[in-house]
Amino acid sequence: MDDLSVLAWRSRIASGEAAPEDVVRHYLEAIAARDPEIHAFLLVREEAREEARNLRAEDRQTLPFFGIPVALKDNFLTRGVRTTAGSRMLETYVPPVDATAWERLAHGGAVLLGKTNLDEFAMGVSTETSAFGPTRNPWDPTRTAGGSSGGSAAAVAAGFAPLALGSDTGGSVRQPAAYTGIVGFKPTYGLVSRYGLIPMAASLDTVGVFARTVDDAAYAFVHIAGSDPKDPTSFGKLPPAFADRLAELRRLAYPARAERLRALLSRGFSGAKVALVRELFGDGVSPEVRTAVEAAVRRMEALGARVEAVSVPELEHAGAVYAVVMSAEAASHLGRFDGVRFGLRVPAGDVDALYTRTRSRGFGWEAKRRILFGTYVTLSESFVDLYERALRARRFLASRLEALFADFDFLLGPATPTTAPVVGAAGDVDPVVELTQDLLTLPANLAGLPAVSVPAGRGSDGMPVGLQIVGPRYSDLDVLAFAFAWEEARPPEARPPFGGKVPGSSPREGGSGR
């Protein structure tokens, strides 16, 4: 099932069975064949062939990502490669620097395959606010791939790339991962440098990983994690035990050590104490999702996990808190797009008109809505009431969630209330509807907690269902280990049909394509 996984490719490349250019060719062909229908990419790099050929052969044993093609959400800065954030505002923007997370993969020998679609400035839940049109779900192109990192999720799910990076501010990695039946991991806030990630709301943004398997996600995570002098929010001192374990895992550069990595991740279920938070498993959850997730929980229980239902009533306010903090920061970050130094400029006679015209034309409806809302909540007369209170409420919520971890190892529940909706169903996205889609994922962002969405199975509509596992801060490797245990333990019928079985795609090993 992991024919197309990073670790499988690494073994093959290391042993000489496959050359990096073969791997790149395989994916470019898959993209050429099917991306016109899916629209996962905003930019596909033919140059990747040449770059793969130019990799120094002697590095193939030692570099962890030697020859691995990677897709990046188009809000990661790539030096010399156009980066749009899904907006007209940056349609022709070529950044002067690389994002640190990408730089670390590139130093590890990864090849940039392309930039993937997203909601404009990562503001949305379905890539439908992208200025360049929506991404479709590889399982069923009438449906959305989710958002805002929908392009990266669809790319991995459709077999266009073995690994992709996304950003997760309120669920933008976990939700599309759930909709497309792959693994989407959001680390503890600050563990992966945000340098070079075009911010949506800096205090909530995290760099996340999309992969087909949990060990791939863990492999990528340990190599991009760690403090970065360019991102002061990543300076935080790590708990020593965590830092040691991270370093140990990072030393497992490929090849030949896949089994060690799996062994380090594999912890099984026995003794694990799991909380089912009522508010994260509420009335809004559809029968499709509920059935699949409940089956998963029962199986874990059967395998030794101790599961208990708990309630955190304060979570009812998480959506409001999130809306205020997120939009205040988002409006603030977006001020710099004024037509003066970079990006779109709509010329005008005076500077006020320059701002007005540039911003009117450059921003889509969703960005404008958040700018207005964010501006409102920070106006001085509302400031004390809304923004300050939201910050206090956020700290309180975070402390309530942290307190749960005194008694439990993980929180468990669905990653999304429903399976992937039909494209256009959201229409003129109702902000309230949108919030309910994020409601299950955003608490982890408010509290800065690590969380993963891992496929739990499929709903009766045939679409993937994602299981969300949330742990305390710096429990990233435990969260991944738990997800790994589930991946190993889930029954065959709960396995998403990877490789060859995604409708319409024909990924086969060796890169012969269709």
Partner: protein, 490 residues
């Protein structure tokens, strides 16, 4: 309405003045990136993705700037905010790259401080309301004939401290004294060049007037564009007069922002910025709050230099200097240091102070040098004064010796010996020269005898010339009079 009439009836008015002063910190790099802060580079030479506000770049707090701000806050006697964090003040302006300015709105690093000033022999305490750290904006250059606007972002992101006073200042003289004292304090702290003409010190004055003794504050006028200390004094004086004149006529003072025109010597109303003053401040989510440990604050406090006010006092008390002398020596920190070092080497304080303030400062200023450019050591100063005191050289020769010292750095004793500058105080040796001079200048001798006292001066000068200035001047005088007899005599 009645308030207006009451104001008009008043015969005496008093001014209430407060300041908002921006001081550019002399860190090597900007507040949130590693671009240099040096003045005068080609436009936009000192910019990078961070200070240009490129999306995805992150601010990196310059801890040196925090230390400088802390130094200033401690020197001004402020209570220190231990948790340093920044807020974003939002507004759109082409020279503000991120469309927000990083500042400390909610928790300024210093609060409730004070600065003591001296005006007309009195001291007065000006309370400091708050002092915070923020980044500067860039500069817009408007081309003539509406040909467009150019932006220079070299200054964008340079660290500033803003010092806000309580309205404790009540005259133009106090305003001047406050700014001079603040400027000097910053110089002593070594945290800024405080050059008003280069914009590293910028002051805005809030001026209002009210009937003397009234508890009610008058309408406040903010006066901007003050770019010299004397300009500040003039602008404040003008504004007080303008407001008093309005009140006397029974008119109202409009609360507004005015600009000082240094050429025309008047203030005029400024166009208000569109959109009012709501900066919608939010906590900056990208700068990790920075905790100033108690031990760190105490270390910075312990390392504070002696400040001007204390130094003036000490110079007066320890060396018996006049307030004026102590003021001059303190106003130039290096000059004061030189003075104190010279005294430690044994120089008599008062004569040394005189030499430094007249001969030395004259030399330095004439040549556009700074104190440190002149290679005379404190020990050499002490020697020079000793030579004068023991009568080896005259004050006049000492001036020559000083010139040689300043140019070469040589020891005064060596200069005196090798150049034979020792004073001739031997009457026998001088008498011969005096006779020669009388012989050679019969016309002057005649003039003197006819009562022209001036002619004596000429003859003294001739003797000095013959001895290349080494003759003891009083002795020459006496000898000449003896030789010529009384003026007006036969």
């Amino acid at each position: 309405m009645s308030a207006v009439r009451e104001e008009a009836r008043a015969t005496e008015y008093e001014a209430v003045i407060g300041f908002e002063v921006h001081v550019e910190l002399a860190t090597a790099t900007k507040l949130f990136c590693s671009c240099p802060t040096t003045f005068g580079a080609p436009p936009n030479a000192h910019t990078c993705p961070i200070c240009l506000g490129h999306p995805g770049t992150l601010p990196l707090l310059n801890e040196r700037a925090v230390e400088y701000a802390l130094r200033a806050a401690l020197a001004l006697g402020c209570e220190i905010e231990r948790r340093v964090h920044f807020d974003r003040k939002h507004y759109f302006y082409p020279d503000l790259p991120k469309a927000y300015q990083m500042s400390q709105v909610h928790a300024p690093i210093g609060r409730n401080g004070a600065l003591t000033i001296e005006v007309g022999g009195r001291t007065k305490v000006i309370r400091i309301r708050e002092m915070h750290l923020e980044e500067d904006a860039g500069k817009s250059v408007h081309l003539p004939d509406d040909a467009g606007t150019l932006i220079d972002l070299n200054r964008a992101g340079v660290p500033l401290i803003e010092i806000v006073t309580e309205p404790d200042i009540s005259s133009p003289e106090e305003a001047r004294a406050f700014l001079e004292e603040l400027r000097l304090t910053m110089l002593y702290l070594g945290i800024s060049d405080v050059r008003m003409e280069e914009g590293s010190l910028r002051a805005d004055a809030n001026v209002s007037v009210r009937p003397k003794g009234s508890p009610v504050l008058g309408s406040k006028v903010e006066v901007k564009n003050l770019n010299s200390i004397s300009g500040v004094e003039r602008a404040v004086a003008y504004e007080i007069e303008r407001q008093v004149a309005l009140l006397r006529r029974g008119e109202r003072v409009v609360s507004e922002t005015r600009r000082w025109d240094e050429d025309r010597r008047l203030t005029f109303p400024m166009r208000q910025k569109f959109g009012g003053e709501d900066y919608r401040p939010i906590h900056d989510p990208e700068v990790v709050p920075y905790v100033l440990e108690e031990s760190y604050v105490e270390r910075v406090r312990a390392e504070l230099p002696e400040l001007p006010h204390a130094r003036r006092k000490r110079l007066r008390e320890a060396y018996g200097l006049s307030a004026y002398d102590a003021g001059v020596l303190t106003a130039n920190r290096e000059l004061g240091d030189l003075f104190e070092a010279g005294v430690r080497e044994g120089a008599p304080p008062k004569p040394l102070a005189n030499w430094l303030m007249s001969e030395f400062l004259g030399y330095v200023n004439e040549r556009g040098l700074s104190v440190r450019d002149v290679p005379i050591t404190p020990r050499q100063w002490a020697e020079l004064l000793a030579l004068i005191e023991e009568g080896t050289i005259s004050t006049k020769i000492a001036k020559t010796v000083f010139q040689r010292m300043a140019e070469s750095g040589r020891d005064p004793r060596e200069i005196v010996e090798t150049e034979g500058l020792v004073q001739i105080a031997d009457p026998e040796a001088l008498r011969k020269i005096v006779e020669r001079v009388i012989e050679a200048n019969p016309k002057s001798v005649e003039d003197y005898r006819k009562g022209k006292e001036k002619a004596l001066g000429f003859l003294v000068g001739q003797v000095m010339r013959e001895t290349r200035g080494k003759a003891h001047p009083e002795l020459v005088n006496r000898l000449l009079r003896e030789a010529l007899g009384e003026p007006g005599g036969a």
